[in-house]
Amino acid sequence: MTLNLCVLTPNRIIWDSEVKEIILSTNSGQIGVLPNHAPIATAVDIGLLRIRLNNDQWLTAALMGGFARIGNNEITILGNDAEISTDINPQEAQQALEIAEANLSRAEGKRQAIEANLALRRARTRVEAVNVISY
């Protein structure tokens, strides 16, 4: 049995093909999905999406939160935004992280703190996606 993964964002389709396995960061922790998984619906946190391709290579993507539906060997991930690690520029991601950290330390009030926190988590995920240890 094969597993079909489809990652959609409002801009474009990020990924639509067969995979062997994925590891998904949900709101309640990471889950691994193999073929013939029980049908579930889950909220996806801002975090990494790891994909094992048919040639057993792992691929990492940064996922900016969203929703996933698994069932019938079909995974549909609806995300705000997603980037495959090879598309991310490491220097730019690192800079964005530093800016986000600086912004958080300067944030005043509840509102700015919410915004700065979200931005920081996004930036951190992108850096993690680039620097992930491949195994």
């Binding site: 964002t9 949900t26 889950i31 579930i40 909220a43 969203g66 929703f67």
Partner: protein, 374 residues
């Protein structure tokens, strides 16, 4: 320039009809080109034309010719960009379709439960945030003015109702407008960029989200230009927050449309190449398998879905606004080109007539001189 006055009297017979155009600070010679093409035939050149020298006329014809080239090019560029904007909408379609499908199903499953999600909480309205989407550039007819006028009208309405408001301005034109009017409270100035992507939509969504969740505002309204067709677009007001948990979209008057219908309705607005079909299609919503489990609380899942929905709504509005702007620019530039052609023709006529008169005069002089000698 001696002949600019006379040219204006020919080419824009009714300057007061298009005040939104003439109020812009164009240079005098080019200004009349951007007036809508008038169907009436040009008036015969007045006798004042005689005061204009041949050389000035020649320069003027040359300058009109150059302007015509520019407007023609701008029109073509806008046409190409409209097509790109359409593609952007089409490529976002799989996402919206899946989203509506999921939202619809989850709602059905949650109907029996009492859900309480921050984004759907309806509070008594004390303050409203208005997100005003304008373009980055001018030269697109009344596009920016219409939406700003709509915003002003809404602000006046809110003032009479005694409701406070704050503006989130998106787009350079709106930014300069609101910056020049410090009495309008503006929360943030944003720029939409050339082709709206999730990044821009996210920036707006983050802003309205934090405003709403921190209870700074109790309602968020989105003012944008709805793309109806290449020659028609409507500035509309659309309530963004609070979202209805059933995925309905409500307008200002409280009329709600089911998302499953509305989504596709909006998406098909840019169907077809240069014609627009508006069809009402209902997304097929196959029900989930009954054994579907929720990994988290249904509330949490809805919490993850609704921001997605919010983002896609904002993105759609940005895309529609961009398409409207480009269509407006196309029309304006096409009119400007027509006017330039007309003006060039009139000027050439006057030029040729004067040239002829001059030659005739010279011949007469020569003949008279020759006759006097004999």
């Amino acid at each position: 320039m001696a002949c600019s006055n006379l040219a204006i009297t020919w080419a824009s017979p009714k300057p007061s009809d298009h005040d939104h155009l003439s109020s812009r600070a164009f240079l005098a010679p080019s200004r009349l080109l951007f007036a809508p093409a008038s169907a009436s035939s040009p008036r015969p050149p007045r006798s004042t034309a005689v005061y204009c020298g041949l050389r000035e006329l020649r320069d003027r014809i040359e300058s009109v010719k150059n302007t015509q080239k520019i407007t023609e090019a701008m029109k073509l560029v806008a046409a190409a960009k409209v097509r790109r904007a359409q593609e952007a909408v089409v490529s976002g379609r799989p996402f919206s379709e899946s989203l509506v499908e999921v939202l619809y199903n989850i709602n059905e499953q949650l109907q029996t439960e009492d859900v309480d999600v921050p984004l759907t909480r309806v509070r008594p309205v004390r303050k409203i945030a208005l997100v005003v989407v304008t373009g980055d550039r001018g030269l697109c007819g009344g596009y920016n003015n219409y939406i700003i006028k709509k915003a002003e009208q809404r602000m006046a309405e809110l003032s009479t109702l005694g409701i406070a408001y704050t503006v989130i301005s998106v787009g350079k034109k709106g930014n300069t407008y609101f910056q020049r009017r410090p009495y309008i409270p503006v929360d943030r100035f944003l720029e939409a960029g050339n082709l709206p992507t999730t990044k821009e939509a996210q920036a707006i969504a983050d802003d309205v989200f934090s405003l709403f969740v921190s209870e700074d505002v109790d309602k968020v309204e989105l003012l944008y230009t709805k793309f109806v067709s290449l020659v028609k677009s409507d500035p509309v007001i659309h309530t963004l927050l609070p979202l209805s948990p059933k995925g309905e979209i409500c307008d200002v008057n409280g009329v709600c449309v089911d998302a499953a219908e509305d989504e596709l309705f909006r998406l098909t607005t840019k169907e077809g190449k240069l014609t627009v079909e508006r069809e009402m299609v209902r997304t097929p919503t196959p029900s989930f398998s009954p054994i579907l489990q929720f990994e988290q609380d249904p509330v949490q899942i809805l919490d993850a879905l609704l921001p997605l929905y919010l983002n896609s709504q904002i993105l759609r509005a940005l895309q529609e606004s961009l398409a409207s702007e480009l269509a407006a620019r196309m029309t304006a530039m096409s009119n400007a080109t027509d006017n330039a052609v007309e003006l060039k023709r009139n000027l050439s006529m006057v030029y040729n007539r004067q040239r002829q008169a001059k030659i005739t005069g010279e011949i007469l002089e020569i003949v008279a001189g020759a006759e006097a000698l004999t």
